[in-house]
């Protein structure tokens, strides 16, 4: 089964991730960076503040040269482990007093000029505060404090970890959500598509979509099922109508055939045993009437036979009586039958025939094919020349009947072989069964029929028939090798 790409599930996962992760990440990033900035600025502020306080207390100690007092003031820093070390420099830049956290490792802090400007810097995870020691407008020295930024670092780590776990959680949640949505949407749609595919494959309108939901997809499935039921119903109706028509056709053609046969015999009997009339004018009038009656009976018989054939084709009873037939002889025979009409229409019939074209065919049916094609060519040829060609092509015999008449448009070419179809309208008589029966006969012989036509330039019907048994082929070759008379 073909998988949709990209699938609804993929889209759902992507959308859910985007919809949840993007805003939460933004919010977390903003809140986190604000928080970290606050902590940093908080640490800087508190470091500067405590430095200023210690510097204030150390001012007198520095002014009156008391190291113990300065060291005592620095001891305040011991209370907070964040402060790593602090140094007090005198006015000359000499180290006056210092505090160093016990157990603190690493190199001594770099010396800072005693007259350095007050400042605070964050560098390498450490905060450095330089603060002047002054009193009453007099600068006595400088204090330098180093503090750790560990709380900021650990807070950043906490945020990064939080973000990581949140992302994992959201991915899991969106996968679950997408799975649930897929169950609700995607899978059901695929099942529906499956049903449609099954119907397309088997033309079985009795299958139904099994979705029982009450949501949009449920409604779609319901509409789908309703549509299937309607199609099924209509197809059954259509089949029934066709069956009834075929049955009617069969009954009607059989019913027509019986009185027609009797009528034909009576007309033939009348012609053969016509009463002797003395008056020549009256005799001629009677002869003409008999002739007309016989022609109309024949025409009627042909129509009824066509109907009978069609009904046989429809119910699949179309047996062939195969025997050895010469297609060329058959063509000559048919032209003989049409000689009166050809003369009446003053149509030139060109023949391109070999000596013989033998095959195992049903002679009656094959004659029907030639008759139908020739009568069509005469009918639609509009007085233009008609050409009949027979060729032997290996195991096949080729029959081409070409006219220079009105031709057939490409759209009509596809349907003229169907029942009751005609390329042109009712200006021309007939039931539109001739080409249908022709095709069915050709198909029953295992052959093919096609039409080549350019509208306005005429049409060529090309029949290709397998010649049947090998013996007949050899015989055909033997005949074709005979010298021309």
């Amino acid at each position: 089964m073909r998988r949709p790409h990209p699938s609804i599930r993929g889209k759902l996962i992507a959308l859910t991730l985007l919809a949840i992760l993007a805003p939460i990440s933004c919010v977390l990033f903003i809140v986190g960076s604000n928080e970290i900035r606050d902590i940093r600025s908080d640490m800087v502020t508190s470091s500067v503040l405590i430095t200023s306080v210690v510097a204030e207390y150390a001012a007198a100690a520095l002014a009156f040269d008391s190291r113990p007092a300065a060291e005592e003031a620095l001891q305040v820093l011991a209370a907070n482990p964040r402060f790593l070390d602090a140094t007090i420099y005198d006015r000359a830049g000499r180290r006056f007093a210092a505090f160093r956290r016990p157990g603190r490792t690493g190199p001594d802090p770099p010396a800072v000029l005693a007259d350095a400007e007050p400042r605070s810097t964050l560098e390498g995870g450490r905060i450095t505060v330089v603060y002047p020691i002054a009193q009453g407008g007099e600068r006595f020295g400088t204090m330098v404090l180093h503090g750790a930024m560990a709380p900021v670092t650990s807070r950043v780590h906490a945020y990064v970890w939080g973000l990581w776990w949140l992302t994992l959680g959201i991915i899991a949640a969106s996968l679950t959500l997408a799975w649930a949505l897929e169950r609700m949407v995607s899978r059901r749609l695929l099942r529906l598509a499956d049903v449609a595919r099954q119907i397309a494959r088997g033309a079985d309108y009795s299958v139904r979509a099994s979705d029982r939901g009450h949501d949009e997809i449920g409604l779609l499935a319901e509409a789908f099922n309703n549509m299937l039921a309607e199609i099924d119903h209509r197809q059954t109706e259509a089949r029934e109508a066709i069956r009834m028509r075929d049955e009617f056709l069969s009954v009607a053609s059989h019913e027509l055939k019986t009185p027609l046969t009797s009528l034909k015999l009576r007309v033939q009997g009348l012609i053969e045993h016509s009463p002797t009339v003395e008056d020549p004018t009256e005799a001629a009038r009677m002869d003409k009437s008999f002739e007309l009656a016989e022609r109309q009976v024949r025409r009627l018989e042909k129509l009824v036979n066509n109907l009978l054939d069609v009904s046989r084709i429809a119910i699949g009873r179309f047996p062939l009586q195969r025997e050895e037939v010469d297609l060329v002889g058959l063509v000559h025979n048919v032209i003989g039958q049409f000689s009166a009409e050809i003369a009446r229409l003053d149509v030139e019939v060109g023949l391109d025939l070999p000596e013989h074209a033998l095959g195992l065919w049903d002679p009656m049916r094959l004659e029907q094919v030639v008759v139908n094609l020739l009568s069509n060519a005469l009918k639609y040829g509009a007085g233009s020349p008609v050409e009949i060609v027979v060729r032997i092509d290996g195991g096949n015999a080729l029959l081409i009947v070409r006219d220079r008449g009105i031709g057939i448009s490409p759209a009509d070419q596809a349907r003229i072989f169907e029942r009751f179809e005609r390329a042109v309208s009712l200006n021309y008589g007939g039931l539109g069964l001739g080409l249908h029966i022709t095709r069915e006969i050709v198909l029953a012989h295992g052959g093919t029929i096609r039409v080549e036509s350019v509208p306005g330039e005429g049409a060529a019907f090309i029949v290709e028939l397998p010649r049947g048994i090998e013996a007949s082929e050899q015989m055909g070759e033997a005949w074709t090798q005979q010298p021309q008379p």
Binding site: S46, S66, Q135
Partner: protein, 198 residues
């Protein structure tokens, strides 16, 4: 944020205050004196320097000065080598962002224009009168003689066994006058109440 910083500052102040203001004895070291180099002249120079530094840690009320341009007046009563160093200091330094004027006064002189009075040791007989004239005025009295602190001089400079200059502050004097003394100065001082009256 401000609350946390305030808490830290309070903790620092409490730790410092707990040490005690008056009882603390801070040894003020003057290495040059301890080594003995330069003799007495260095001692007097350090004392004069201390006098100047005291002014950094003491606030006078605004009424103590006649105007914004009036000088900071250093008065010396009696004969002391410190006076010469104070003289040099008055010419080169500014105190409270004012020029410094040095006055050498007789023991019976009026002290009302003085901001700081240095009382030499030879003024011991008139000490009580001098102090009574200074009382009620924002005047810092400084001396460098045994027992002067006990007698009521606000700051008394002393030299300890190791030759270091130290100072004592009389807390009573600090509270009585209109002057404001920096707490750190008080911490560094030696309690003068423990001294004997000569």
């Amino acid at each position: 944020m401000r609350g946390r910083a305030g808490k830290i500052a309070r903790r620092v102040r409490r730790a410092v205050a707990s040490v005690g203001l008056v009882v603390a004895v801070v040894v003020v070291v003057t290495p040059a004196i301890a080594r003995g180099g330069g003799g007495d002249q260095l001692e007097y120079r350090v004392k004069a320097e201390f006098v100047e530094r005291f002014t950094r840690f003491i606030e006078w009320p605004p009424t103590a000065f006649a105007g914004p341009d009036s000088p900071f007046v250093l008065c010396v009563i009696g004969r002391t080598p410190v006076a010469n160093f104070l003289e040099a200091l008055a010419q080169s330094r500014r105190i409270k962002d004012r020029r410094v004027e040095l006055r050498r006064l007789q023991p019976n002189a009026d002290l009302s224009g003085c901001h700081l009075v240095f009382i030499a040791s030879d003024e011991r007989p008139w000490l009580k009168q001098i102090l009574s004239r200074a009382a009620g005025h924002p005047i810092v009295t400084v001396a460098d003689s045994e027992g002067f602190g006990r007698a009521g001089v606000l700051i008394n400079l002393v030299v300890d066994d190791q030759g270091r200059v130290r100072f004592e502050i009389s807390p009573a004097g600090a509270h009585q006058s209109a002057l404001t003394l920096n707490a750190q100065l008080l911490r560094l001082s030696q309690a003068s109440s423990t001294e004997d009256v000569p």
